[in-house]
Amino acid sequence: MTPDSVLHVDTVTKIYPTQPPVVALRGVSFRIGRGELVAIVGPSGSGKTTLLHLMGTLDRPTSGTVRVTGTDVAALGDHAVAFLRASRIGFVFQQFFLAEHQTVLDNVADGLLYAGVRQAERRRRAMDAIAVVGLAARANARPTQLSGGQRQRVAIARALVGEPAIILADEPTGNLDQSTGRSILALFEALNERGATIVVITHDTAVARRMPRRIEMLDGRVVSDTTSSVVATSTSQPMEHP
């Protein structure tokens, strides 16, 4: 294992024990290195959401191993896995999942709630993360007062605030219109340039094409894993701000 490998998925199989059993993943293997920006792309039913569960340590594989920053998830109990999530993994969801009755600041600060950080420190770091996603002026607004793109930025700030080793984004542009979606992708690119490791799970090949590395899934298998030397989007499409 290379020391820079943040995530290592090794011959992972996932079978859901329903009747009949559903085989969602069939021996998937790949590594994601520090500082990478990766798209996992595939149609519905290709197993990419199951893969997200396993990468995010929200579920365990039937066989094979998942290592996050070198730690084998299978060796950890519920407590340790939870703390692994709290300290090393940031999630961004299609539906944002923001608490409507809390301010942007408190929503972002909640990203550190389970990491054992005191409230004053949580808020201070949340303010920094909000500034990074360009919403410093709206820190005291409520999510209901924000546009979809702004809400997703808040969710990204929440994922960022714990400075996780890896950010997993599940269809982050799925609820957004095209131009807002592009600006979110641009934000990911900007964060990646600052050193963040980001995995974007998407069914949208247009989104995937913007990413320097694409892992294509079909029927629970990785069918291709390509790395472009030149990021097409950074030249062909200008970065947009909402």
Binding site: G70, A82, F83, A86, H101, D110, Y114, G116
Partner: protein, 399 residues
Amino acid sequence: MTMLVARPMSPADLLRLSGAGLRTRKLRAALSALGIAIGVAAIVAVLGLSASSQAGLLAEIDRLGTNMLTVSNGTTLFGQPAELPEQAPGMIGRIAGVTAVQDTSYIANVSAYRSPLIPSIDTNALTVQAASLGLLQATGDTLAHGHFLNPATAREPVAVLGALAAQRLGIDRVFSGERIWLGNQWFYVAGILTPAVLAPDIDTSVLIGYPAAETYLGADGHPSTIYVRAQTDRVDAVQALLAATANPQAPSQVDVSQPSQALVARADAQSALNGLFLGLGAVALLVGAVGVANIMIISVLERRSEIGLRRALGATKGHIRVQFLSEAILLAVAGGAAGVATGALATAVYASAKGWAVVIPALAWGGGIGAALAIGALAGLLPALRAASMSPTQALWSI
């Protein structure tokens, strides 16, 4: 990797979290806390009112003094009413430590009516008694209207009514010329007494003077009840001597009692009546508990995505369990606190209207809050376990 140890949430964070959970659904939280509030309010009010009425009664007893003793005629060996000697009041007056002696004499076979037209069987359970002129100083009672008997009116057909006697005769104030039909002749009403606390016999009595009783009703003047006031520090000594002094020939035919003791016993016994109301309060609490459990279970279902998100943010099952449990406890305790406040307020209003001291026993408010806490913990347990056992992937991806 040795540092992967999840930390428990700080109490401040937990309080903030569960408070936020309730604030998001204010009306629903308020309604489900209401059941518990009603139960706790009922319990606090019942305990508070009974303690306050007890305090009121004891204060009344203190005001009237605990140094009154009564001597009354007992029964003979054959079960017939015994008679107290006519000299008994005088003899008792000579016991050291006695400060006042007054007496009444029950007049048999005489009843009082509003008018001669009332059938003679409608006696209203009233008794007619001859009373010595200083009776009120001994019993501590006061007049509500008019005047008590004096040396002049004691010789004339004039009566003073006990509080209940006046009520049953339908007389609520004293007009000049107001009269009642007593022993086949009119007696003028001079006064009406306030309710007697230490000498309840007087409440249902029509009091007339000894000379009038002899003149108009042919009474023999034997006292039936003697009211004795003693110096407070000599009450026991006086009590020990009373029977033998009142009737030296047959001390066993004399009943001696200290009415304040009976009242204190009654004040203590009153709380037995509260069982029913406490039971009703407990039922309300139970219903409230079911309400809280119900609301929490619905809340867990509704907040699947929140639970999933928290798990993704690194919450352990324990974090989720504690969050929902503390939410249920907070809800119940808020209801309990509101209930204690309401119960205390009700007690205060009622007690001050009655002129009692406001007493809310620690058992009432402490128990109310404690019961609410226990109910919250019990009602929240199942929903909290459900929330914690929810798989994060299902919670997040099955909406």
